[in-house]
Every structure is written in structure tokens, then in C-alpha cells.
């Protein structure tokens, strides 16, 4: 296991390195630069050149990359072009806000979807299954911002039950109850959206396993249906679900731009879009790297969870039986 982990970590470092080169290259290759956005129109080329020089944008891209890498290895995310604000001071508070919102909705979605999907697989086309199908279609079909505005109009403006937007009431920052109160509507939107795919997925995965031979064998030898479903089948059905969970983990840090925008949640999705429009290269790189780390961690987590669920993968699958 240790050897496996070390190998994975080394791979991850290589992946991060490659991702950073590609992203850096793409960001700099994109037309339009920060200087054009920053300066008032009508500056002489001389002033534009000076500005580029001061911001370090006059040097070749590979030199700029090496400088960026050097700073990054020291843990310095750099500063924004426009105001010289340290990027770290923009990102960490935003990241925290996003994790609060996204982790809650994501976990809630999983906690609802997996048991419900499993239950539905045992009663295919029953009432509960049909309701789940409707919820699933609705979640897929409804645009997040539209649903968000609908909730705002109904539950905030009309019924006055929940706050319209924001994380906290002005002056109540840090108050957990106030935060929870403000989370109800955006979390509802995000849960519904995530629910759809997890519901369909867990149900399908379960149905797949339930039709396999060993399940029939278990049933044939008289094992009670409850045990067949929850002991024999569930474990195997979880493996593909875990893969999806691992792949989806990065959304917890990447944020949900539309929902954050509608509910005025100060999160990463909004920050990324703003920084992209302003061509703030350092901030864009920092956010990309954070998401890359999340992708790698998500995959790693999925692998570790496989091992927990399925003993066959525990020893790095070397010499183990393939399934």
C-alpha cells in the first residue's frame, strides 16, 4: 500500500507539472492581455511597453513560466496586475466559502441519492422509482439559475421565509445559524441538480449487480432478500458509484458559477469567471492548480475507497484476480 501511495504521489506531481505548463501556455496564448484591460484607452505605446515591463509581461513566455514556477514552489501565488493584491488573499477566503456550500450540497445529495437509488432498484417502476425519475429529469433539465430565481421569488420575495441571497445577514458574519439559514435555498438548488445523476447511477449500478449470477445463486440457496440486496449486492454496486464520487470531488472546490451568481455567494466559480475576464494570469493559474490538486485527490480517494470496499484491489491488484 505504501509503495502504491508513493507511486501515485510521484505520478501526481508529474501530472500537476504538465497541467501547469499547458494551462500557462493557453492562458498566455489567448488573445487580449491584462494591459489592454487595465489601462485607460489612448496611452502611448511607450507607456504600454513600460507597463508590460513592470508587470513582467515583456519577457518570453517560458521565462515567465519558470519565474512563476519558482514562486509557486515557495508557496507564493503572486499578485494581481491591477491592484497588486496578493492572489492568496483572494483565493483562501473564497475557497472556504465554496467548500461550505458545495460540500454540504454534495454530501446531502449523496446521502439522499444512494439509499434512494438502491431502494428503487429493488422496486423497479414502483411509486418511489417513478418519483425519483421525475426528480431526476427535473434536475437535469432545469437550469440552475432559473430554478434559483424561482426559489428566490417564491420563498424570499413572496413568502418571506428565507433570505434572498448572500452568506450572512450584514453584521452577523460568522454566526452559524445565520449561515445555515442563508444556505437553505442555494443548497436546495445544488442538491436537486446533483441528485439526478447520482440517483440514476446508483439505481442502474444496483440493477446491474442484481442481475448477476452470484446474486441468483444467493437467492437460490435461500438467503433472505434483504441480505441479498444489502450484503451481497450493495458492496459490488458501490464500486462504480465510488468512481463517480471520486471524479466529482473537484466540484467541491471549483464551485458552481451560476448558483453562486444568483445567490450572491462569494465563491470560486464567480472568482474564476471574474479573473478570466480581467486576464489576471496569476489568479487563474492558482485556481487551476487548486482544482488540479482536487482532481488528483479525488482519484486517489476513489482508489483507496475501492480497496476498502473490494478486497481484491487491496494489494495494488498485483497478481490479484481481475474482475
Amino acid at each position: 500500500m505504501t509503495e502504491y501511495l508513493i507511486r501515485r504521489i510521484l505520478q501526481s506531481i508529474l501530472v500537476m507539472f504538465l497541467v501547469s505548463i499547458v494551462t500557462f501556455g493557453l492562458i498566455h496564448a489567448a488573445p487580449g492581455g491584462p494591459v489592454q484591460i487595465f489601462l485607460a484607452p489612448g496611452q502611448s505605446p511607450e507607456v504600454i511597453e513600460l507597463q508590460k515591463k513592470q508587470l513582467g509581461l515583456d519577457r518570453p513566455v517560458h521565462i515567465q513560466y519558470i519565474e512563476w514556477l519558482g514562486r509557486m514552489l515557495k508557496g507564493d501565488f503572486g499578485k494581481t496586475f491591477k491592484s497588486g493584491t496578493p492572489v492568496a488573499s483572494l483565493i483562501w477566503p473564497t475557497l472556504k466559502n465554496t467548500i461550505i456550500l458545495m460540500a454540504t450540497s454534495w454530501l446531502l445529495a449523496l446521502l439522499i441519492a444512494i439509499p434512494w437509488g438502491v431502494y428503487n432498484s429493488t422496486r423497479q417502476y414502483g411509486v418511489s422509482d417513478n418519483i425519483a425519475a421525475i426528480v431526476g429529469y427535473a434536475g437535469f433539465a432545469m437550469p440552475a439559475f432559473w430554478f434559483g430565481i424561482l426559489l428566490q421569488l417564491t420563498f424570499s420575495l413572496k413568502l418571506n421565509l428565507f433570505p434572498l441571497s448572500d452568506m450572512y445577514t450584514y453584521g452577523k458574519e460568522g454566526n452559524i445559524l445565520d449561515l445555515l439559514y442563508h444556505m437553505v435555498l442555494p443548497v436546495t438548488v445544488l442538491v436537486l441538480i446533483n441528485l439526478a445523476s447520482y440517483l440514476r447511477f446508483s439505481r442502474a449500478s444496483m440493477l446491474d449487480v442484481l442481475s448477476q449470477d452470484y446474486v441468483r445463486t444467493a437467492r437460490a440457496k435461500g438467503v433472505p432478500e434483504r441480505l441479498v440486496v444489502y450484503k451481497h449486492a450493495l458492496r459490488n454496486a458501490l464500486i462504480p458509484i465510488i468512481t463517480v464520487i471520486g471524479l466529482d470531488l473537484p466540484i467541491v472546490v471549483a464551485g458552481a458559477t451560476l448558483t453562486e451568481t444568483v445567490f450572491n455567494w462569494p465563491g470560486m466559480g464567480r472568482l474564476f469567471v471574474e479573473m478570466a475576464f480581467a486576464r489576471e494570469y496569476s489568479a487563474l493559474m492558482a485556481i487551476t492548480m487548486i482544482i488540479t490538486v482536487a482532481v488528483i485527490l479525488g482519484n486517489l480517494l476513489a482508489d483507496i475507497l475501492y480497496a476498502l470496499v473490494d478486497p481484491r484491489v487491496r494489494l495494488g491488484a498485483r497478481g490479484g484476480e481481475a474482475s
Partner: protein, 558 residues
């Protein structure tokens, strides 16, 4: 004071379409609602915005949000009246209007005795000298550098007197260079000019020093900024409102709903699409009027941008025909839904230099066709005009995501097809468009806008001295008479003389038509009824940042 691209990208997401009913709603009258009850002190005003500030370090401010709130915390050297003339009032630092020398190059500025910084230090001539010198210093690299590059020297004659000498007579300097806020010299001690941007001043409220009626007490990024009355405010009158919260909304829709719910007292830019949601709602008043912005259709006269070097816009009659062929009033009625006014020339109709000498090209397809025929265009077999073997066809560029310009471009395309001109539409990402096409002057035609500065001078847009890449005459327009008139316009100091020059310019430029001037968009301000002000303190929407111009005199009724 500042000239900016009028971007108004309409937000990355353009969500605002939702609340719209797209009805042809009538514009509310521009009249303000005043209250007979007497001002009272106290209360918190919540003012909303759709973007966070970038910095409150004045040297680097180049965005609306930052300047909005900088206006609360830093006193101006001079203020301007409703028509954009320099004035001295209770809130500014200077004690009398600047004295201009015989040769028109030297301005002597006298300061009041009272101004002081929030840390107790006196605001002196040294600070004024420091501010002007820093703007004019290339190492500081202020985005506003171009407004100060004519400064030859600045010196403090004594603690209360500053003398600014320009290298040449330049009348617009009165507003571009003197209608400014002053920075504290002692806050930048120990920093090289090239490091001013790195100073914590303007980023951390506790490390910023103030001279205005309010001080900045808190910044919760992407959420809100808080301003409280400056306990060390030096002016004779105190602001009525205790606290101003500048609250940031990511989405204009949410912002408007917050106004409806009463969570916000003041919204300075209500999108036209959201108007039906707020119009006639109890507890909300709306103030509307043309803003200091306009959109135009710009021609490019550089043969390098055209196949075989044939510029179809070369003939004056052709340009006039295009102006006649575009239903400009139709644009105002349909695209702006009436929330805008026709604009015929490059001067603000509410500004002091406006005389109405512009030519108005009314919508007249027959006249357009006739003018085109007179200019030698004949109808080709494909339904498009041609001349010397060239088809009349051009590409019109504008920025993606701007719903207004998208709609306008489509109408221009249809209007010009009527008279036999083929328009191809090309929307482009704003930043790369400006860099690759507008700044270097590489395009055939553009749909773009300007935010107007207070002074009428626009030499850098229309004079052949300012061809790319040195200036903003990106269409390579050349008219020697126009070139001379701009120079004349800023070389005389007397406003009455200047006004005559600009009247002549207005006529010449709208006859020759380097642009087809389209319209001024309205600004719509929404506020809760509890926000009160006297008539003389109402928003002046034709001025940049005029929405909250006299906010210090406003009060809250409850």
C-alpha cells in the same frame, strides 16, 4: 476626468433577461422626488453594485466601483457643477477657482486652511504637489497618466498655494487635471514611485488615510464595503447619513430583487430589462436620464483594411447616405425600449460646450439611395451596390455578450441591406478585439461606445495626430479642418471662445461623419422612498459618477 471604453459587457451570464417582460414600457419622467420634511441625521444606507472594488489607491483606480466609493472618502481639489464647469464648494479642498496666467500655461491654486487627513495631519500644498507629480510620473504607471503628461512642473509656493505649469496651453486640464482627489504624501513615504501599487494604502481600510466626509472601515471581499462618518471631517457641514454599506451583487437580477425586498436602498444602474419588475412598485422611486455615454458606428478609412485598397466609405455622400439609411430613432425605441436619446455629435447635450449645431440625419431610405447614386454606386445583379467593380460590403465588429450591440448590429445590417449594402457581423471577445483590431486600427467598421469625459475635447479620437498605435483615432480619419479646430479648442482658455470653436467642430464633424453617432443610453437609478434629498442635490445622470454626486446632503427618513 477619465475617458473609458464603454464596455458594459452585460455580465458574463446575462441573466437579467428573466425578469423582463419586454413590454414597451414608458420611461418614467426624469423628475426627481423631493421631500418637504427636514433632513435628519443617522441611519445606514445600503447601496448596491455589481462588481467589487479593485483598489482604493487613487493612482490606480480605473473602474466604476472603485471610483464610486473613492468619492466618499477622498476630498476633491475642485468640484464641478451640473454642466461640468469647475467650482469651489464646501466639500472641496481649494478655496477659490484657479488663477490662470496670461500665457495660459500656469495655474495657481489656493487651498483652504481647514482640510486635514483622518489621522489628524494637515492636508497641505505638499500633498497636492505629490499627487500631481505622481500622476505625471511614468514610473508610477497610473492608468490615468495621459491626463497629466502636459505637466511641466508643480511646486508648492507656500503651505496653502500650489503652482502648476504646463508645457503647452491646454484648457481641458482644468477638469482632467484639477478635478481630482488628493492623496496623502505621508502614506507613500518609504516607497519608490514604481512600488506605489504595492503599498497597503487603498487595500486595507486600517492602513488607508482619508480626507473625505466618510472613512472606509471594512472590506469583505466580493460581499460588501462599509463606510462611516469621518470623525475628523474638516468641512463646515457634516453628512447626514451615518453609515453607507456598498453591497456587492454578482447578478443584476438579485440586486433588483433586493431593492424590492428593501434589503438595498439604492441601485445606481437598473438594467432596462428589469424595469417592469420595479416600475410602479410601492416604496420605490426611479430617476432616469441620459448618461455620459454613447454608442457609434465607426468607419475605417485605411486602405490596408480593404481588398484592393478600395475604401467604400471614402465618399462623404456615401457616409451621409449610411446615416440616413439607419433608423436611429428606431434603435432607441426598439433596442433601448425608449430608455435613451438620439445623439447627433460627439458632445454631451448637457455639457457647457453643447450648442446643438450638429446635423441630424433623419431616417430616409429614398434620400440614402439618392445620395449613394450621386456618389457613383450602381445596383448590381445580386441586389447589392457596386462601384468600379467593387461590391459594397463590409464587416461590422463589436463585443460578444453585449446584448444591446448585438441587437443594434442586426438592425444596422437589415437597414443597410435595404439600400444595397452588405454588412457581415462579427462579434469578438472584448479584450482581444481591442488589442488586435481596435487599438491597431485593423477593422472595416465597428460598433463601439465612449464614456464621455467632462471636457468636450476629443482630439485623441478624431484628429489625424492620433492615428494608431499612438491614439484612439482607430478609424484613421483625417480632416485637416477638424484637426485644426481641436487644437484651437484647447488652446484658448476663455470658455465662451471655446464654445464657439466646438459649435464649428460639431457642424464640421457631423457633416463629414467619421462616425454615425447613434444614441446615449439612459441611466436608471432606483431607490427606496426612505432615501431623501433636496432638489438641488438630486442625481445628475449626465455627469460621470453623477448618480451620487451630493450623497453627503442626502438623508434617510426612518
Amino acid at each position: 476626468m477619465k475617458r473609458k471604453w464603454s464596455i458594459l459587457v452585460a455580465g458574463a451570464l446575462a441573466l437579467s433577461l428573466l425578469v423582463s417582460a419586454c413590454g414597451g414600457s414608458k420611461a418614467p419622467s426624469g423628475g426627481s422626488q423631493t421631500s418637504s420634511d427636514e433632513p435628519r441625521d443617522g441611519g445606514t444606507l445600503t447601496w448596491s453594485t455589481t462588481s467589487d472594488i479593485i483598489t482604493l489607491n487613487y493612482f490606480f483606480i480605473n473602474d466604476t466601483a472603485s471610483q464610486d466609493v473613492a468619492n466618499l472618502i477622498y476630498a476633491y481639489l475642485y468640484n464641478v457643477d451640473e454642466e461640468g464647469r469647475l467650482v469651489v464648494d464646501d466639500w472641496c479642498i481649494a478655496s477659490e477657482l484657479p488663477e490662470v496666467s496670461e500665457d495660459g500655461k500656469t495655474y495657481t491654486i489656493k487651498l483652504k486652511d481647514t482640510p486635514k487627513w483622518s489621522d489628524g495631519k494637515r492636508l497641505t500644498a505638499e500633498d497636492v504637489v505629490f499627487t500631481l507629480e505622481s500622476f505625471a510620473n511614468k514610473d508610477v504607471l497610473s492608468p490615468q497618466y495621459a491626463n497629466f503628461d502636459k505637466i511641466e512642473s508643480v511646486k508648492a509656493l507656500d503651505e496653502r498655494t500650489v503652482q502648476v505649469t504646463l508645457s503647452t496651453v491646454f484648457a481641458p486640464f482644468e477638469t482632467s487635471g484639477l478635478y481630482i482627489q488628493i492623496m496623502p504624501k505621508h502614506a507613500f513615504e518609504g516607497y519608490e514611485p514604481s512600488q506605489y501599487k504595492d503599498a497597503p494604502f487603498g487595500k486595507d481600510p486600517s492602513k488607508t488615510i482619508y480626507s473625505g466626509p466618510y472613512i472606509w472601515t471594512e472590506w469583505k471581499q466580493k460581499q460588501s464595503l462599509t463606510f462611516e462618518r469621518n470623525p475628523n471631517w474638516w468641512g463646515p457641514k457634516k453628512p447626514h447619513i451615518d453609515k453607507i454599506v456598498y453591497k456587492i451583487y454578482a447578478d443584476q437580477n438579485t440586486e433588483v430583487q433586493a431593492l424590492l425586498k428593501g434589503e438595498v436602498d439604492l441601485v445606481t444602474q437598473i438594467p432596462v430589462a428589469s424595469l417592469p419588475a420595479v416600475e410602479g412598485k410601492p416604496g420605490i422611486k426611479l430617476i432616469e436620464g441620459p448618461g455620459p455615454v454613447y454608442d457609434y458606428l465607426g468607419f475605417n478609412f485605411n486602405p490596408e483594411n480593404w481588398p484592393d485598397g478600395f475604401v467604400p466609405f471614402a465618399g462623404i455622400k456615401t457616409r451621409q447616405a449610411i446615416a440616413h439609411a439607419i433608423n436611429r430613432q428606431g434603435l432607441v425605441d426598439s433596442v433601448l425600449q425608449g430608455h435613451g436619446v438620439l445623439l447627433n455629435g460627439p458632445f454631451l447635450p448637457n455639457g457647457w460646450a453643447y450648442t446643438g449645431a450638429e446635423i441630424n440625419y433623419e431616417y430616409n431610405v429614398e434620400k440614402a439611395k439618392q445620395l449613394l447614386a450621386e456618389d457613383g454606386w450602381t445596383m448590381g445583379p445580386d441586389g447589392y451596390l457596386q462601384k468600379d467593380g467593387h461590391k459594397f460590403e463590409f464587416t461590422l465588429q463589436f463585443n460578444t455578450g453585449n446584448k444591446r450591440r448585438e441587437a443594434v448590429a442586426a438592425i444596422i445590417q437589415a437597414n443597410l441591406k435595404e439600400v444595397g449594402i452588405k454588412v457581415n457581423i462579427e462579434p469578438l471577445d472584448f479584450s482581444s478585439w481591442i488589442e488586435n483590431h481596435v487599438t491597431p486600427g485593423r477593422y472595416q467598421a465597428v460598433l463601439l461606445g465612449w464614456s464621455l469625459s467632462i471636457d468636450p475635447d476629443a482630439e485623441s479620437i478624431f484628429s489625424s495626430k492620433f492615428f494608431p498605435p499612438n491614439g484612439q483615432n482607430s478609424g484613421w480619419y483625417k480632416n485637416e479642418k477638424v484637426d485644426e479646430l481641436w487644437v484651437k479648442g484647447y488652446s484658448v482658455i476663455d470658455p465662451a471662445e471655446r464654445k464657439k470653436v466646438y459649435a464649428e467642430l460639431a457642424k464640421e464633424i457631423t457633416t463629414d461623419l467619421p462616425y454615425v453617432f447613434l444614441y446615449q443610453q439612459n441611466i436608471i437609478v432606483g431607490m427606496r422612498d426612505r432615501v431623501k434629498f433636496k432638489d438641488e442635490d438630486k442625481p445628475v445622470l449626465s455627469l460621470p459618477y453623477g448618480e451620487t454626486r451630493h450623497i453627503y446632503n442626502w438623508w434617510l427618513s426612518e
